[in-house]
Every structure is written in C-alpha cells, then in structure tokens.
C-alpha cells in the first residue's frame, strides 16, 4: 500500500488499510466520517513542518532511562486469579480460536 504523500489526500481505501493494520473493521458510516475528520487532523499536525531548524535538533533523550534491577517481582497473579480473567480456559491453558481455523489468516 503506497500512501498519499500527506493524509490531506487520504483515500477511503487508505483509511480502510490503516484500520486493517490496527485490527479494526470500519463500517461504511465510520469510513465516511473518518475520511472527513482524519485529513483535517493531519493538516493540523502538519504545522510541525514549519518549525525552524528542526533538522538540527538532537534526538537523544534528555534523561537516561533508569534500568530496573533484575529481581523477581514480589507480586504475582495466582493460577486461580488468572483463570478468572481469561474468557475461556482448558487443560490449564487459555483457550483461543485456532489461527488456521475456518476462514482464518495467519
């Protein structure tokens, strides 16, 4: 998928493709609405192209990330707590539909 240079020209096809990447299926009404909203939003954020000397600005973070010591956490969810959270559970494993089941794509 080759996108329009800017989202100001974003087609409905491109919006649908973005949704596919995000694992979302849009209704026709949603596509219609987003094809109006999204270009306006991106036109707004494209102001960043006007920032002077942006190419000179350094990217490195101001603060270094602090790494956590490699110690075991003092809190864990018990097996029964995990079982309560998953919608389906079988043989001590969380059950999900098969990747290669009917109509599926990996």
């Amino acid at each position: 998928m080759v996108y329009s240079r800017s989202m100001s020209n974003l087609s409905k096809e491109e919006i649908t493709h973005l949704a596919t990447l995000a694992r979302i299926r849009l209704t026709d009404e949603e596509i219609e609405r987003l094809s109006v909203d999204m270009p306006k939003i991106v036109e707004f954020v494209e102001q960043l192209k006007d920032v002077p000397n942006l190419s000179d600005a350094e990217l490195k973070p101001v603060d270094l990330a602090t790494l956590r010591d490699d110690t075991e956490s003092s809190e864990k969810l018990s097996h029964s707590e995990q079982q309560e959270l998953a919608p389906k559970w079988a043989d001590n494993q969380i059950e999900v539909p098969g990747v290669f089941d009917e109509g599926g794509e990996a």
């Binding site: 920032v51 790494l67 919608p87 109509g103």
Partner: protein, 434 residues
C-alpha cells in the same frame, strides 16, 4: 448518595476502607475508572472492558488504603482518557455541576464533577495532556498534574506511557497536597518513577519570580478568562513577586506534537485489547476475527480515530515526517522550559482558552475539541508539574482556572502558592447553586 451528574460509573454499596487510621483517615475519595481497585470494575469508560474486574490494586490505591482513605466509587471519563469533555464515554457523558447543559471537561470529568458536587472530598484523575487541569478549571476546583515519574502508573490503564500521570483533585490545595504526599514516591513496579519524597514549602513571595509566556498570553481566548488570570498575577505581584514576560517559542507547536506522540503511544498500548485477556470477547471462527470483532465492536469513535492516527504517523514513509519530527519538537519544548526556569521560578497562564462549553458543541469537530488542550499539553511534553486553581468567575457564574507550572519536582512551590492564595480568596469554596 444521589449522583444526578453521571459523575460515577459505580457507587460502592459499601465504601471501601482498608484501615481506620492513617494520614488520610476517613477522607472520602472517588477514583477515575482507569485506575485499578482490586475486585472492582475498571472499564476506562469503554465497552471493550465491560465486565472486567481488576485483579490487583494500583500502587496509588495501595498507598491510599494504607493511609486510611475511603473509596466511594469509580468515576466517569472519556473512553481510555481520550478526550476533553467526558463525552466519549461509552456510558454517557457527565454533566458539569455548574450548568446542566455544560461539559465538566475531560478526560477526568467524572472525578472533577464529583468533588465540585460535594459527592466526595477528593478524587484521583489522570493527566496526559491536561485531563486533570482542564476539568479542574471547568468545575471550579483545584487539580494537580505531578511531575512525570513522581507517581506510579502501575495499575493505571495506559493511554500514552511517556505522558500519563495520576494526580489529585480537591476543593483546596491543602487537600490536594495531603493526597499527593501519600500517592507519590518510587515504586518497584514502575521503573519510570523516581526517588521522590514530598516536602511542603512556605513561599517567600518577595523572592518569587513569575514568568508569563507571551506565546500563551497572546492567544485568542475568552476575555473574562484573561481578566481573571491577570488578577491572579496581580495578586502575586502585590505579595511581592517579580513578574516578567518570557518566551517559549516552540510551545505553539506543542499541540501538533502532542497529537502525534499521544496517538502513536496509545495505538501501541491499546493493541493489548484483543478479546483474549480482558473478559470482553466477541464471537469469532478464527483468531484474526476474534481480534477484529472484539476491537471493532468494543472501541468507540474517538478511540478508533486516534488508533488510526497513531498507526499512520508510525507507518513507513511517514515516521520521519510526523513521529520523529514530533519527538524533536518535544525536546525543543523541554529545553525552552528548562532555560526559562533559569530566570523564573514559576510560569503562569490561564488553564483553558474557553469557559466550559455546551454538551454536543465540539464533539463532532475533533480539531475544535483538541484546541481545549492548547494551554496544558506542553507541560506534559516537558514532564513538568502543573496545577490549576480557581481564580475567578465569569459574569454567567462559570468558574475560571489559572495554571501554575514549575520546574520538575517543585510541586511544593505550586501548592505553597496556591495554599496562600486560597487563604485570602474563596473561589475554591464556592459551590454550584449557592
């Protein structure tokens, strides 16, 4: 408790209190429904988390329980904290106690309205681009967005992990301070937290240097807000503070940078909602359909909009032009604030460019809605603390908030100023319908 404002998504039949003694013994708090209390719902005001029961306490909740606080319920918010009006909640909007057709602000609108309506003494919200400060201003109460890293995000349903912070609301800065001193500090579960211990500070106003950024003061905003905020600055000057104009040139790009960085991080954070782990799970014949059906049915319009925006700005061919550019602008903004704080101790502006607006007025125009965050987002981008406090009322009796921003880890200066101001004014004590 009668909640005619839809401030609460859940009022606990029996308020939760783990201990009877402690620093906050008996203080009634409401908790935004994106912060986990073990055994209670945590919906983030989304259908996709309907039925989800939190398996553990957020660190802030553990600390509040230890301090003797009482939790009265979970409050409404914009879905996944994406919004500035609480109108994107899947469970209906919250009404501002100051006007039945007005928004309370967002995304922490429920928490702000609950305090304003005296349904609790204090509440917790979260602030990613203004979601504590803006509703505090709209509801006529005090709200603090702490320095990034001073309050643990463990147990906060993530929106944008480099911007989110949990913070308190209350009528008074004194109560905000009490709650903040309990919830702040390093946490082993959140490696972005720092070794921080809150220490209150008396303010010597004669030594205080106040900066007014021209880029914020020259913005088009409601004239009554400008007037009330100027009166707050006059108060500081009369107390002996030195006031000067400063410049933060890149701050005008803050909103654009924010609406690139935040959706990018939000898109990544919301990938976890796949129908496998969080209770809500759509019927599907295969795994891919499970993901797609759950997410398509479970997310609301604004959430989908921001996910798509985040997907776009991180995609091949656009990453450099949008996301990388926004990160660079963020660094520029941060450095300009640091430079400004070499000359001034605090920076003051209005919190919002408008008075509380009508329900439905902006929800169909996302760009107009995003403008509500104009004065607040750069504080999150720069990881700084910001406090909103009531500084006046409009002729139509709507509250107005002023924002004080300080250097990192200087919440005590912001709260010190606010406490002194609130000894001499009563804006924070006024109640709707009085």
């Amino acid at each position: 408790m009668t909640d005619k404002y839809n401030a609460f998504l859940k009022i606990f039949d029996t308020p939760i209190q783990a201990k009877k003694d402690g620093k906050l013994a008996g203080m009634k708090l409401a908790i935004k429904d994106n912060i986990l209390i073990e055994g209670q719902q945590a919906t983030a005001s989304s259908k996709i988390l309907e039925g989800f029961i939190a398996p553990y306490d957020a660190t802030v909740i553990k600390k509040l329980k230890e301090a003797g606080a009482i939790f009265v319920g979970k409050t409404n918010l914009d879905e996944f904290a994406m919004g500035s009006s609480t109108e994107t909640s899947a469970y209906g909007t919250t009404i501002n106690p100051w006007g039945e057709n007005l928004v309370p602000g967002g995304s922490s609108g429920g928490s702000a309205a609950a305090v304003a309506a005296d349904l609790c003494e204090a509440s917790l919200g979260s602030d990613t681009g203004g979601s504590i400060r803006q509703p505090a201003a709209f509801c006529g109460i005090t709200g603090l967005k702490p320095t990034y890293g001073t309050v643990s995000r463990y147990g906060l349903i993530a929106l944008a992990s480099s911007l989110d912070q949990i913070g308190p609301f209350a009528r008074s800065a004194e109560d905000v301070e009490k709650v903040f001193s309990v919830i702040s500090g390093k946490d082993e579960h959140d490696q972005t937290t720092v070794d921080y211990k809150y220490q209150p500070q008396e303010i010597d106003f004669k030594k205080l240097r106040v900066g007014l950024p021209k880029e914020l003061w020259q913005l088009s905003m409601d004239p009554e807000i400008t007037e009330a905020t100027k009166k707050f600055v006059d108060y500081l000057e009369k107390k002996g503070a030195t006031v000067k104009g400063i410049s933060l040139p890149s701050i005008k790009y803050g909103l654009s940078a924010y609406y690139i960085i935040m959706p990018a991080e939000a898109m990544a954070n919301l990938e976890r909602f796949d129908g496998i782990r969080f209770q809500s799970s759509a019927e599907a014949k295969n795994l891919l359909d499970k993901y797609v059906n759950t997410r398509s049915n479970g997310f609301g319009t604004e959430t989908k909009r921001r996910i798509l925006l985040g997907t776009f700005v991180l995609s091949v061919g656009h990453f450099d032009d949008y996301y990388q550019a926004a990160v660079k602008v963020r660094q520029l903004i941060k450095r300009e604030y640091e430079k400004a704080f070499e000359e001034v101790d605090v920076i003051v502006s209005a919190t919002t460019p408008t008075l509380p607006f009508k329900i439905g007025e902006k929800v169909k125009d996302p760009v107009a809605m995003y403008q509500s965050d104009l004065l607040t987002v750069s504080v999150n981008l720069a990881d700084l603390p910001g406090l909103s406090l009531p500084c006046g009322f409009s002729k139509s009796n709507l509250p107005i908030g002023a924002q004080i921003v300080g250097p990192a880890y200087h919440e005590n200066v912001l709260l010190g100023i606010a406490k002194e101001y609130q000894k001499e004014t009563d804006y924070h004590l006024r109640k709707p319908n009085e």
